[in-house]
């Protein structure tokens, strides 16, 4: 039987907290950018202007075809280079966080756009007709009537995707960014207490994600009764 030795956890807590901050930072930034960009993509996809709809479909399908790990790897290798050339960011700037966020955001946008598209489609066609019949133009109808309902209907799915995203932040190990999981495994490796550290990390993830998904459920219930 394996002998557990939890002694390196207390000392590592400050690092783990820092790692958690990085994970959260990535998640929040990626969720926000992902939802905004995903909404635009969804509207393009549903638009009657063919090139826009093709572009959105192509974008979504491309990103959904590639494993996140590979996307992150590509972004990690290429984004800094691009930024350097396009925006004149000084060479050698540490852009790991930036490229990780960009990678996540663009990747997640593909998933969010599918959720939001479903959300828009879940709003009955009559709502759009009713808004138009009151004299609202396309943007007013979308902004005041359709999107608020689409988002409300999709909040559970959006949050669930957020939880998945949070778990997936552990994949930034490919860019050597010290997120929560990466920190845990590095400290575990350094101290020769990998098993303990990762069990601990797993427990923390579970508690956070489970609480979040309970919140989602609570919200869903409230939606149903409201």
């Amino acid at each position: 039987m394996y002998e557990f030795d939890w002694s390196s956890i207390p000392g590592a807590l400050p690092f783990l907290a820092k790692g958690m901050l990085v994970s959260l930072e990535i998640m929040v930034a990626a969720v926000v950018i992902g939802i905004v960009w995903g909404t635009l993509l969804a509207m393009m996809r549903l638009s009657s202007i063919k090139p826009l709809s093709w572009f959105a479909a192509g974008y979504v399908n491309t990103f959904r075809a590639i494993p996140l790990v590979m996307v992150l790897l590509w972004f990690f290798l290429i984004v800094p280079h691009l930024l350097e050339q396009l925006l004149g960011v000084p060479r050698g700037t540490d852009m790991r966080l930036g490229s990780a966020i960009a990678g996540f955001a663009l990747f997640e946008a593909a998933y969010y756009s599918e959720i939001i598209r479903a959300g828009i489609q879940s709003v009955s066609k009559g709502q759009m007709a009713a808004a138009s019949a009151l004299g609202m133009n396309y943007w007013q109808s979308m902004r005041l009537v359709v999107l608020p309902q689409a988002f409300r209907n999709m909040v559970p799915l959006l949050l669930t995707q957020g939880i998945i995203l949070f778990q997936d932040t552990s994949l930034v190990y490919v860019s050597a960014l010290a997120d929560f999981f990466g920190t845990a495994s590095k400290v575990g490796d350094r101290d020769g207490r990998l098993v303990e550290m990762l069990l601990f990390a797993g427990a923390v993830y579970f508690v956070l994600c489970f609480s979040a998904s309970q919140l989602v459920r609570f919200y869903q219930k409230r939606l149903k009764t409201a």
Partner: protein
């Protein structure tokens, strides 16, 4: 007021409306009826440009609906429309449902819009429910709110698409009562409905559609007493039997 001339519309190869022509004068109440799928909803949606059509012309108060230069949003804001499934905005309170288009489309200020909204709610007997959300009202109540919402825009005419067919039998009359009152006040109305009692009481004319064509377009008396077409005859027989 509303003038429909030789309108044709098709979805791909499927012809939904064929050569539809009819006119609604100011203050007139026209009931549109016909079997399911005959194109009633489509016709009425063409009137305020919710559905485009391929040929023919529709003018509302002199404005050509099919003309690309027409500001459709503006036109629609003067034409009230009431749907089968009410289509209140579920994420807004009743008061907000009534005020939102007034403020965002007509540019009224919020206070004014709310006062107007409350007046109309009062008129349909629902003043006490202003703060509630649509989901908390019964179907009949929701449909009355929908009528009030359309009235809040000071429409020059009103379109109804089967306003009572999604309602429990008990609630149908509370909605028909509001509509009857409107008609008696002289509102121009075009109304798709199967409520023949309402048609007999209120309509000036009845338009009967079948397979995308206007088969009969007659005074109410002529229609009910001696429908000219066989199809209308059958339809009336089926619908009035029970």
């Amino acid at each position: 007021m509303i003038s429909i001339n030789n309108v044709n519309k098709h979805y791909g190869a499927f012809q939904v409306l064929t050569d539809c022509t009819t006119h609604v004068n100011k203050g007139e109440v026209v009931v549109v009826c016909g079997p399911s799928g005959s194109g009633k909803s489509t016709l009425i949606k063409c009137v305020n440009g919710l559905e485009p059509f391929q040929s023919g012309g529709i003018t509302v108060n002199g404005v050509a609906v099919g003309d690309p230069k027409t500001n459709l949003s503006k036109l629609r804001s003067h034409v009230g429309m009431v749907f089968q499934n009410f289509e209140l905005f579920p994420h807004m309170s009743i008061a907000k449902n009534l005020s939102i288009a007034q403020t965002k489309v007509l540019g009224r200020d919020l206070a004014e819009a709310e006062v107007k909204g409350l007046q109309l709610l009062d008129r349909v007997g629902l003043k006490a429910h202003a703060h509630k959300f649509p989901g908390q009202l019964s179907g009949g109540q929701q449909q009355r709110v929908a009528i009030a919402r359309a009235l809040a825009m000071d429409p020059i005419c009103m379109l109804f698409d089967e306003p009572t067919s999604a309602l429990d039998p008990e609630m149908i009359n509370e909605v028909l009562d509001v509509m009857t009152e409107l008609a008696q006040e002289g509102m121009t109305m075009m109304c798709v409905t199967h409520e023949m009692g309402f048609a007999k009481r209120v309509a000036h004319r009845v338009v009967f559609m079948d397979h995308g064509r206007i088969v009969e377009d007659d005074s109410k008396e002529a229609f009910f007493d001696s429908p000219r077409s066989e199809r209308a005859h059958q339809f009336l027989a089926k619908i009035l039997q029970h």
